[in-house]
């Protein structure tokens, strides 16, 4: 049999996939195939996976076919998390990563800058992006958003802080998605929030608060009646060259990779040192898991905000409580 060598088949013919309009409006009669693909982008700890499941369960309660799944690497707070919900009235012949979402739920707008998360990649023509932000316009000033899509926004995190006391927006994001897709009744959403939050062991009181939060978001948005179209895709399968150099070794030679990956963009809260109160005890310095605290000449810490990921361990450990916290991205 042929060996895998450097002669991998080079299929250089670019080929374009036929454009098929996809109808997502629920009450059309001549609906051959209705499928809505929702992709959630969040950070570990925000509840992206639970959001995709609440939307999934709510749609399942409505009698739809559903598939939902998350992708994440090694689990850690702050790392980008992606989750998907596919909703259809027929068999779902899809699986894994949603490359071409009809609706994107951006749970943390700073992810728009992440080269890893690739948030807006593949969104379908006339699809929609929901931004967890006070104003989509401000986001638009900071990041480039694709054209030919609709944008909706709502500040879920502030509502969650207010109603739950925590920046966890699983129910809020699911509510936003459910409302925008327009296939789910409010009662089904509520049922799904209860089911999914019971599943992960939340207290009755917390579940109630989440239901209220879900209701609030649901009633604050309007369905989008999405009718998206497949974007033109260009696919090239590339030959792999025979590797002759160190490129084929897994070794990390360069130090300081976190200087490239600015983990500071993960923060929801940022620690701020109150130098009046600080006694230069260096406890924070010892505890910071990211070495994002650098000691100044006077022994007091200076925070490297490019790499501080906002875990707030320093805030919790500081003996005289000389570290305060401030909500990040409040400007959005």
């Amino acid at each position: 049999m042929p060996l895998i060598t450097n002669y991998f088949l080079a299929l250089t013919l670019d080929f374009y996939i036929l454009t098929q309009p996809l109808i997502v409006i629920p009450d059309k009669f001549l609906m051959i195939l209705m499928i809505v693909r929702v992709r959630f982008h969040g950070r570990g700890g925000q509840g992206a996976k639970t959001a995709s499941r609440i939307l999934g369960t709510a749609s399942f309660v409505e009698g739809m076919n559903v598939q939902d799944s998350p992708v994440y690497g090694a689990e850690r707070r702050g790392a980008p998390v992606t989750a998907f919900t596919r909703i259809s009235d027929s068999e779902i012949l899809e699986r894994g990563y949603v490359f071409d979402p009809d609706l994107l739920i951006v749970m943390d707008a700073t992810l728009l800058a992440s080269p890893v998360a690739k948030v807006t990649d593949g969104i379908r023509k006339k699809g929609a992006i929901f931004l967890n932000a006070q104003s989509a316009n401000i986001i638009g000033e900071h990041y480039t958003l694709p054209s030919d899509v609709r944008i909706a926004s709502y500040d879920l995190t502030s509502s969650a802080m207010e109603m739950l006391g925590k920046p966890i927006i699983s129910s809020a994001s699911a509510a936003a998605a459910a409302r925008l897709v327009g296939l789910v009744k409010e009662s089904s959403l509520e049922q799904a929030i209860v089911t999914e939050l019971e599943e992960i062991g939340l207290s009755e009181e917390m579940i109630k608060k989440n239901v209220m939060l879900g209701r609030k978001i649901f009633s604050s948005l309007e369905p989008l009646e999405l009718a998206t179209e497949e974007s033109e895709k260009k696919l090239r399968i590339v030959p792999l060259e025979m590797i002759t150099s160190n490129d084929g070794l897994e070794d990390i030679i360069a130090v300081g990779n976190s200087k490239v990956a600015k983990t500071g963009s993960w923060r929801i809260f940022k620690p701020v040192v109150d130098y009046e109160k600080c006694t230069a005890c260096t406890v924070c310095y010892a505890y910071c898991p990211e070495s994002a605290l650098i000691l100044r000449q006077d022994g007091k810490p200076e925070i490297d905000y490019d790499n501080c990921k906002g875990c707030l361990i320093c805030y919790r450990e500081c003996p005289p409580k000389a570290i305060n916290i401030e909500r990040e991205v409040i400007a959005f």
């Binding site: 088949l9 598939q67 799944s69 699986r95 360069a254």
Partner: protein, 404 residues
Amino acid sequence: MLMTGNMAAAWGARLGRADYIPAYPITPQTEIIETIAKWVRLGEMDAKLVQMESEHSMLTAAGAASLAGARVFTATSSQGLLYALEMLYNISGWRAPMMLINVARALAAPITLEPDHNDVLAARDTGFLQFHAETCQEVLDLILLAYRVAEDSSVLLPAIVNLDGFYLSFTREKVTLPSEQDVSTFLPDYNPPNPFRANMPVSKGATVLNGALYSYFKYHMHTSSIRALSVFEEAALQFERIFGRSYSPVEPYMMDDAEFVIVISNSFSTIAKQAVRRLRERGFPAGLLKLRMLRPFPSSLVARYLSARRGVAVFDQNISLGSGGIIYPEVVASLYHRRNRPQLLLPVIGGLGGKQITVEEMEKIFEAIKNEIGAESPDPIFLMRQEELETTKNMVRTAKEVQI
């Protein structure tokens, strides 16, 4: 119900009335054991769950308990399976029909969490029967079927049911749960031959120190494994009568008049099916043959379905380094003596370490089959999209060149 593949596997143990579950944690199978542990604690499942100190001990305990007559269920992934590998050969030699779930995860190094099939295929020569699932429903159903086949007195071999990490393990979809009553009709209690009993001494897996004896027993295992195919087919008929879902060792999809066919297994079959459907809409005669049973290898069925097709691609989500895909040569061997074998058998390797595959990539494979017909010896395709290679190269560069 909506449930993950892991959850469906746990239901397989529960509905299959497994009564002994030795366990050792590894991602991405952990949810299976967590779920069973919860049921056992709440008294919803009548089974003994024991946390062992390694996968090797876990499998040793599993095999021994099976010989004592327990219905045994356990699960692992990746390195865990390899750590237990030595015991797999023992357990099949003991003729202990236990159930092992493998949640596929690519092997280290490099370390990753996502699936390919080098882990489960490392167990292909062990004597374990192997069934590979595409959907969460299949995970549950194949566990019930596999118990039935494994425990059949003409088979008596252990079984592995494979499901892909992430693509099934953490993916929720609709699963219909059969009733306990129907399952016990389909899968009666295990009736072990010569179980360990205090009042009836029996030795199992005795030392033979004799090549002829060894050969005899190995050959016996081999024929028992081959027999599992017809036992499966028979069991599947009854399964369909009771539960309404039909399973064969291979699943043809749009094969009736297909000229170009992809042979594939596991969860990526779904994406390939979508490609087939889209190509059909454009008038391209594509078809798909899914391998559901990997051991015994269903050679005659593969040959029957693939004969007289123009071109066939074999999609291997695994790699035997220095050779190529593992399934490819098995398909070639199945077809070699057929007079009307396809003109082309194209080897494709894709999805290693869970590399995502788009429907367009699957379509491209069909295009390649068509283009390569008539080629002297077709070059293997190693799927890698341009943007993936670019991202990879950037990461490699970052790892090597960045200086502070």
